[in-house]
């Protein structure tokens, strides 16, 4: 499984776009928001945590459909399914690779982009923490959605619609934690909920994703 992870990361680096796409999208959203809502610093400060979380979520969504589609098109997914690796493990590794190439750069870039939105000085730590806790769940849920829609032409649309409701709890608690952090309130309750959702997703989703992928490969 380590070989699969290394291969996926190597492919993301070499093929280009893997690392950059989500990050560029995040940057565009965050840069354009002040232009669209106007330059009132107080308003930006108020919406900054929510916009940063929404931007991160959409950036994550953007690259989901390629997670399995590439391996499906060139036949590698069939070959992986007949290999000694369990499909659940393959999907978990795919999600980890997706997180490292998409989620992790977002977490790292978020503080820099927070400045553009005039995020309150006290909010940076909680913002990074909430993104670090929440984005792994986004990748794992995304792997489930990708497994569900693999092999469907233009599956990206269906994938987004299927994954959207599953993303809502993570968004609510993640953005809430970031907001409370920025306003100087105690963010521990939403952070705990967020961590709980992520833990539950990481525990269950590989099995759900493996099951639907098996049906899909038939």
């Amino acid at each position: 499984m380590r070989a699969l992870l290394i291969r996926d990361l190597r492919l993301a680096l070499r093929a280009g776009g893997g690392f950059g796409l989500g990050l560029a999208f995040f940057l565009i959203v965050v840069v354009l928001v002040p232009f669209s809502v106007g330059p009132q610093a107080a308003l930006l400060t108020r919406i900054a945590p929510g916009v940063l979380w929404l931007g991160a979520l959409l950036a994550c969504l953007l690259s989901l459909d390629r997670m399995l589609a590439v391996d499906w098109e060139d036949g590698a997914l069939d070959l992986l399914a007949t290999s000694p690796l369990p499909l659940e493990g393959v999907l978990a590794v795919k999600a980890v690779a997706h997180w490292i190439t998409t989620g992790l750069p977002l977490v790292v870039a978020a503080p820099a982009l927070g400045v553009l939105l005039n995020l309150a000085p006290g909010g940076y730590g909680v913002l990074v923490l909430s993104l670090a806790l929440g984005t792994p769940a986004l990748s794992m849920i995304g792997a489930f959605g990708a497994a569900l829609t693999v092999g469907i032409k233009r599956g990206g649309l269906l994938l987004s619609l299927l994954v959207l409701p599953l993303y809502v709890p993570t968004l609510i608690f993640g953005a809430e934690a970031a907001r409370r952090g920025a306003e100087g309130l105690d963010p521990s309750t939403p952070l705990l909920f967020l961590a709980g959702i992520t833990a539950g997703v990481l525990a269950c989703m590989p099995f759900a994703a493996g099951a639907v992928l098996r049906v899909n490969l038939r």
Partner: protein
Amino acid sequence: MELRVSDLAVGRGGVPVLAGLSFALSAGTALVLRGPNGSGKTTLLRTVAGLQEPMAGTVAGAEDRIAYAAHADGLKAALSVAENLQFWAAVFGQSDIATALAAFDLAGLVDRPAGQLSAGQKRRLGLARLMVTQRPVWVLDEPTVSLDAASVALFAQAVRAHLAAGGSALMATHIELGVEGQVLDVTPYRTQALDVPMADEAFL
């Protein structure tokens, strides 16, 4: 241990295509499947490889022993020939790729990205993958597509070596490979498409 298929029925999208198939494949032997296009050879091979469930009957002795090669080779264009093979070797818990590179005459291409190979060279790399898996049963779907005569000979030689080492091979092919083995024509086992016992399967 032999691969034993008994009274197997296979289907695509819930519609049965072949039924009543029985054969056994013991160590050191090859079985060549024949039949016109669309007769269900690929579906049969996918079922034997475990990618889909049989509609009836059993496949015994296939668990963790099969190396499957389909029409698509599963190669990554951005990785070199050696990296592609090393990846599959690692997945199957092996490390030796030199034998496979030599057997398919790929040694001169190891550092070439797979995306720059010709169709025949890609196919050779895809077949070399079979060797690095070290699995005893090769399940091959049209292995000689886009190979030239010399490469087909290389492939036949690799299959013979595999059989001599106690492996076995189940393949669907339209050309004469010159490999000793039985031939099974799937045409008599074709079913009428109207006979659908598990119609809801199509919606799963």
